[in-house]
């Protein structure tokens, strides 16, 4: 397969996944903001949201102070913001269009239709009318896109590059989500850490779980009240939790193995090592390092994997 084609497929999936995760994150923030809470806490939530994708300078320049409405606008509809949902869906569609011949008709039409509809919906005010429903729509279309991909694409390189993009992006996004949500509250770990706010804590952690569709899964796995260290374990170490770091890395490694070429053995080794650390890791060790430090390092390594994949497959130096 052409390196350029692989590059477009990889990024098409990354952008689709990113749009979904942004919607998830906004949704959970939006739902939390409907709860009774102090303005400070709400503000921290919105700030964290912008910080998550390192967008604070771009935001401040355009909108000034952090306000819920502006943050939502910036992250949903602003086409100048490359990380907004509409920009991500647009980029996914542009990448798809560049390789439409490599995709099945169904995959291409799903991408194209999603893009046409998101623009139409936003124009018609669908987001302002009901943000929650709009976020559901974005998630649903991401599910649709993944489903039509695995349901129709030939199981060859093209599919593997798409899957690789999806799971690398997911590993990155879940890590960022945790970083901002755990770090955002005052102590490094235990939420507000005050007994009087127990109830608030429950909503905080359950909202995080819901944002990764993990609430029911948590109950199933732990059959216990919601405790932050278990939330962290579920999202980092559990291989059976579809949006966890471990599960994402498992997919990254298996797709990389299927794609292996001569120069990629080092990349595969790095991915395998990261995966093994999650497989044999323990929450106590991670907490001893500090969750924030652990996630920062994890994000660096994911980023490094992306660079290696690009060098080995997508943009090989001129021969």
């Amino acid at each position: 397969m052409l390196s350029r084609t692989a590059d477009h497929l990889f990024w098409m999936s990354r952008y689709t996944e990113r749009a979904e995760n942004t919607a998830r994150l906004l949704d959970v923030n939006y739902q939390t903001s409907l709860l009774p809470q102090s303005d400070d806490v709400a503000l921290v939530g919105w700030q964290g949201l912008i910080g998550i994708s390192e967008l604070m300078p771009a935001y401040t320049e355009k909108y000034g102070d952090v306000r819920a409405r502006d943050v939502m606008e910036f992250m949903v509809k602003d086409e100048d913001n490359p990380s907004s949902i509409v920009s991500c869906l647009g980029a996914a569609r542009e990448n798809a269009r560049a390789v439409r011949g490599t995709l099945t008709t169904e995959v291409w039409e799903t991408q194209n239709q999603t893009w046409l509809e998101v623009r139409r919906n936003l124009k018609a005010g669908a987001f302002e009318r009901d943000p929650g429903q709009f976020f559901e729509w974005v998630k649903f279309h991401s599910h649709l896109s993944r489903g039509v991909t695995v349901g129709t694409m030939l199981m060859d390189e093209a599919l593997y590059f798409m899957r690789l993009g999806t799971f690398l992006e997911r590993a990155d996004n879940t890590a960022r989500l945790m970083d901002v949500k755990f770090h955002g509250v005052h102590s490094d770990f235990y939420g507000t850490a005050q007994d009087s706010k127990q109830e608030y804590d429950f909503y905080h952690w359950s909202a995080i779980l819901r944002s990764v569709s993990g609430f029911e899964n948590y109950r199933k796995v732990y059959r216990d009240v919601i405790r932050p260290e278990r939330v962290a374990e579920l999202l980092i170490l559990r291989p059976d939790m579809p949006r966890s770091l471990h599960a994402s890395l498992n997919e990254v490694v298996s797709n990389l193995a299927l794609l292996a070429n001569d120069p990629s053995s080092d990349t595969l080794r790095r991915a395998g090592k990261l995966c093994a650390e999650l497989k044999y890791g323990h929450m106590d060790e991670i907490l001893a390092t500090g969750l924030h430090a652990f996630l920062t390092q994890f994000l660096d390594r994911v980023n490094d994997l992306g660079a290696h994949i690009s060098r080995d497959f997508l943009m090989p130096a001129a021969q």
């Binding site: 084609t5 390789v99 011949g101 194209n112 001129a318």
Partner: protein
């Protein structure tokens, strides 16, 4: 003007009256149409547009932005009413096209080798060598199979001849990168989807095998160096107006769609960059003009081609389809010589007529043209896409005067033809069903044999009375049916 002469033998504009005589091959369709409820066509048109947009069958418009600031992608208007050609008529057309394209390929070969046709005094040397489309880099180059124009789009119109009878005329040969074949295929898919019942009532010759024929043609044109040739489609990229077609054809043939940046040359062979390292390329179906193919030889600022490609080509290690330099044969200044070429190379009488053409480079022709501008169509020799032409009967006095000045200044840049009343076909426009002028572009493939899918692309001038069918100037397309006996 106002007539459906595609559908009726007698002329009056009376579509639904019994007065005129319908041509046999339109009978079933006509009866079917009369039975449909009034809003059916409007509903189907809406459905068709929705599908085209979802499938993304669009062409990009340069520089245009929509209200949200995004680059625009437009639909080429698709008309629901098919253009129908009788089997016998098509058979004759097909023979004529095979003959014409065969002769044109012989001519291009001759241009770049012995130039017998100049020696025989049939085409003036300066018309060939002095032609801007003549590529000196091609002189003496042996191309695989001696074929230059593998894909030829020959524009054909049906009009009244000197005897007042309808006849097919060749208006133009497109031998560089003729486009539009994807619309031929998509239009058929669309009509079959919208009107399945019509296909059980008619025996319409299928066209879906065109990509197979194209792939066969391209593989046959491979250099002798490989048994299993790798074919690619070379596109300028997704912002090119015909990108949909490039992607479509590559996908239908199951070959890679490459851009210039994907290619490189090494040791006089051509390679593409893949995820598994370099892979050799044997045949390029290029949708990039000559000028942009190789910055070392042609335009230096081109990023659409591949440096060193011409060296590999001239060494016979890759086939470029169509060959470099075919433009020398589809130039409007060469067009008048095609009937003579057919006789010269094939020793046959031409089966298809040219439109009678005045070459303004000749003093007599120029005089006649200047005296009769209001009745003639004058075309720039190197013009394309319906630009740079004067349609006398539709022009104002001022336009004619301006054109006359240009003509006097550079007579050799122009040819003139009588204004043909192109045949018109019932077309579903805003005001309902009305006659609109049409042409026909069959796509002729030349490999080991010369073949084509039955029919081609029918283009229709959607503006009332207009004779310009180009999509850049408000033209649309129709499905084209060749009826089998």
């Amino acid at each position: 003007m106002q007539k459906f002469d595609e559908m009726y033998t007698t002329l009056p504009y009376e579509f639904f009256s019994g007065g005129s005589k319908i041509r046999d091959h339109y009978k079933i369709y006509d009866e079917w149409l009369a039975r449909q409820p009034g809003d059916m066509m409007a509903n189907r048109r809406e459905e068709a547009e929705m599908i085209f947009r979802r499938v993304g069958i669009t062409f990009a418009v340069y520089g245009d932005k929509d209200e949200q600031g995004a680059g625009t992608e437009r639909l080429i208007p698709f008309d629901l009413i098919p253009r129908i050609i009788a089997a016998q008529e098509w058979a004759e057309l097909e023979r004529g096209l095979v003959q014409r394209v065969t002769a044109l390929n012989r001519f291009i070969h001759d241009c770049y080798h012995d130039q017998e046709i100049i020696k025989a005094g049939l085409v003036p040397a300066e018309q060939l060598i002095g032609n801007t489309q003549f590529r000196p880099q091609m002189v003496g180059v042996a191309v695989a199979g001696g074929i230059y124009s593998h894909i030829s789009g020959v524009d054909i119109v049906r009009a009244l001849n000197a005897k007042g009878e309808p006849e097919y005329f060749v208006l133009e040969d497109n031998l560089r990168v003729p486009s539009g074949v994807s619309y031929m295929l998509e239009n058929r898919k669309m009509t079959m989807r919208l009107f399945p019942e019509l296909f059980s009532a008619h025996k319409v010759a299928p066209v879906d095998h065109y990509p197979d024929m194209l792939l066969e043609t391209l593989r046959e044109s491979s250099p002798a160096t490989t048994a299993e040739p790798t074919v690619v489609v070379l596109t300028p990229g997704m912002y090119n107006s015909a990108y949909f077609e490039h992607a479509f054809l590559a996908q239908q043939m199951g070959v890679e769609l490459v851009e210039g940046q994907d290619l490189f040359t090494k040791d006089n062979f051509l390679y593409m960059r893949t995820t598994r390292g370099p892979q050799r390329v044997d045949v390029i179906y290029r949708r990039v003009d000559d000028d942009f193919l190789d910055p070392k030889v042609f335009r230096k600022d081109s990023t659409l081609g591949c440096a060193g490609l011409m060296d590999v080509y001239r060494a016979g290690h890759v086939t470029i389809c169509n060959a470099v330099g075919t433009g020398v044969a589809d130039d409007k200044s060469i067009y008048p010589y095609v009937p003579k070429m057919i006789e010269f190379y094939l020793g046959e009488k031409p089966l298809l007529s040219n439109v009678p053409t005045l070459m303004c480079r000749n003093a007599d022709d120029l005089l006649y043209t200047l005296d009769n501008l209001k009745d003639l169509v004058v075309k720039e020799v190197h013009g394309a896409g319906g630009y740079g032409m004067l349609v006398g009967p539709a022009a104002t006095k001022a336009e004619i005067d301006t054109f006359a000045q240009m003509l006097r200044a550079h007579p050799d840049r122009y040819i003139a033809q009588p204004t043909l009343s192109l045949s018109s076909c019932p077309t579903f426009v805003e005001s309902g069903i009305a006659p609109r002028h049409i042409d026909l572009r069959p796509y002729v493939l030349s490999g080991k044999k010369v073949q084509m899918a039955p029919g081609g692309l029918t283009r229709v001038a959607l503006k009332e009375g207009s004779l310009v069918v180009n999509s850049s100037q408000g033209g649309g397309t129709k499905d084209t049916w060749v009826l089998e006996v």
